[in-house]
């Protein structure tokens, strides 16, 4: 029934959020092979985050099935845990634990790989600490290791989130706009880092991006979302202006919605 070689397999997945009939994912059907470096494009609200979050089960999709590394995603904890161990997520809103230091935040990425008691007590080995520091260094924040996460600038928080995801030593990385708050140079560095991990360790990377340039530069495959549908799925090099129009076309979106302001007044 499914390609056992695929890292990610969406099988006619549809979803809408409670209290809203509009489909945020609309019959998404796609496969992402192991080791692919895939970028997701789409307008604000197109469903990119929902798509990414559905792969770790935080969005419990209403229809269809999702397979990660050949295992079907099922919404009970042992199954979810098993799948999540191999999937690292970089969140659009960072989701750092504010009252912990940055080092602790990064170490949190390793929790699932260390024994339960040590995990609960927060006893990390020197090696683990060193690894976490190295990761912080890789994102340029070694000096901020012992600062609290809420004392960082936006871009710094984003980078701690990236370091945490890398600490997880995953097989798949899902990154939701990982460079949105970063300057061009740092963005480039982070993309480079992800690419390197992708190549060297054959890790599947799925990134949602708003910078088409970056997507073209780093992405191999490009998936375009519009209104919850996959409208474009192509190789980066072949992305045409027509494709971009398909993804970002303004008129299309407007068709589906009803803008009469008067009606809205309570």
């Amino acid at each position: 029934m499914m390609n056992s070689n695929a890292a990610i397999h969406f099988f006619d997945v549809s979803h809408s959020y409670k209290g809203n009939s509009q489909k945020v994912l609309n019959q998404v059907h796609l496969e992402i092979e192991k080791g692919e470096f895939c970028t997701i494009l789409g307008r604000s609200g197109a469903g990119k985050s929902t798509f990414l979050r559905s792969m770790t089960g935080f969005v419990q999709v209403e229809e269809g099935s999702i397979f990660i590394n050949g295992d079907e995603l099922r919404y009970y904890s042992s199954s979810l845990r098993k799948i999540r161990k191999n999937v690292a997520m970089i969140f659009q809103h960072y989701n750092l634990v504010n009252r912990l230091t940055n080092l602790q935040n990064v170490l949190c990425g390793m929790l699932q790989n260390i024994p339960s008691q040590r995990g609960i007590l927060g006893w990390y080995t020197e090696k683990e600490k060193k690894q976490a520091l190295e990761l912080l260094d890789r994102v340029g924040l070694a000096d901020f290791a012992h600062k609290r996460a809420d004392q960082l600038s936006g871009g710094q928080k984003q980078r701690v989130g990236i370091a945490r995801a890398l600490a997880q030593d995953p097989k798949i990385i899902l990154a939701d706009e990982p460079v949105a708050s970063l300057d061009p140079v740092t963005s480039g560095e982070i993309m480079e880092l992800l690419k390197q991990i992708n190549k060297e360790e054959n890790i599947t990377v799925v990134i949602s991006l708003h910078q088409i340039e970056l997507a073209k530069q780093y992405g191999e495959r490009m998936i375009g979302f519009a209104g919850g549908k996959v409208v474009i799925d192509t190789t980066a090099g072949f992305l045409t202006d027509g494709d971009l129009a398909e993804i970002y076309d303004v008129t299309k979106e407007k068709e589906n919605t009803n803008h009469s302001i008067e009606k809205q007044i309570i």
Binding site: R81, L111, G119, I120, R164
Partner: protein, 255 residues
């Protein structure tokens, strides 16, 4: 639908007001009477002045004893209520309706039974003394803390928790590193509030028996030694303020 809900809102509003007015009448609430009575309050205060500070030395041991009882009672309560709160929080194990119902039920029962009665129950078990007092406070506090902990768990920002869950880490690790840091300031507030509350209850209920400050207060009140009672109340105020201060300092550290 919009209209209907407005109507039902108005109905609710009217019935609340009606109940308020009726019950104020039923309870014979009367601000005028209160204002007229203010001189009597001053008279009472006047009669308890100056506080009889000579009893202070006599209060040291009872106060210490009471504090010990409160600390142990709170400590035991913290341990058990933490466990129960996991089940009473809808966004943790409480997502299972049976567990939720069961733990909420236990917590509700624990705090519905007055500490006086818990004291009686434990006196039957372990005899008179301070031990039943500790147990009574522990059980009662467990009911209160468990509820408060659970609801502050329900209030957390789900983001960081999702982040930790997305690593595949087990529930307890997630609780430790995503939930605990988030509820820490509330947990400190509740725990020290409860400690303080236990100090006060142990004082007042005489739960500690002859050794406690509560006993002294009751005796003073019964003998109408208001000046002594005032001194004891001052001691309580100082203890409470100290706890409040410590709570504030601890919270400042973590907020």
């Amino acid at each position: 639908m919009e209209k209907k809900s407005t109507l039902s809102k108005i109905l609710i509003f009217i019935s609340v007001i009606a109940f308020g007015v009726w019950s104020a009448y039923d309870l014979e609430l009367s601000p005028m009477k209160f204002i007229a009575g203010i001189p009597d309050i001053f008279n009472l205060i006047y009669r308890s002045l100056p506080p009889d500070l000579s009893i202070l030395s006599r209060l040291v041991t009872p106060a210490l004893r009471t504090l010990e009882v409160a600390i142990w009672g709170t400590f035991i309560a913290v341990v058990f209520s933490t466990i129960l709160s996991f089940g009473a929080a809808k966004n943790l194990f409480g997502s299972n309706k049976i567990i939720y119902g069961l733990t909420r039920g236990i917590l509700n029962t624990l705090r519905s039974i007055p500490d006086l009665i818990w004291a009686l129950v434990f006196v039957a078990a372990v005899g008179l003394g301070t031990f039943p007092g500790v147990l009574a406070l522990a059980v009662y506090s467990c009911g209160e803390l468990g509820k408060l902990y659970a609801e502050s768990i329900e209030n957390i920002d789900p983001g960081p928790r999702e982040a930790l869950e997305s690593t595949g880490a087990g529930s307890f690790r997630v609780i430790r590193w995503a939930i605990l840091p988030q509820i820490l300031p509330e947990a400190i507030t509740y725990t020290l509030y409860r400690l303080e509350s236990n100090v006060r209850h142990a004082f007042i209920l005489g739960l500690v028996g002859a050794g406690g400050l509560g006993h002294e207060l009751i005796v003073s009140m019964r003998l109408f030694r208001y000046d002594e009672a005032l001194t004891i109340i001052l001691v309580i105020i100082i203890t409470v303020s100290l706890t409040d201060f410590v709570s504030g300092k601890l919270r400042q550290k973590v907020i």
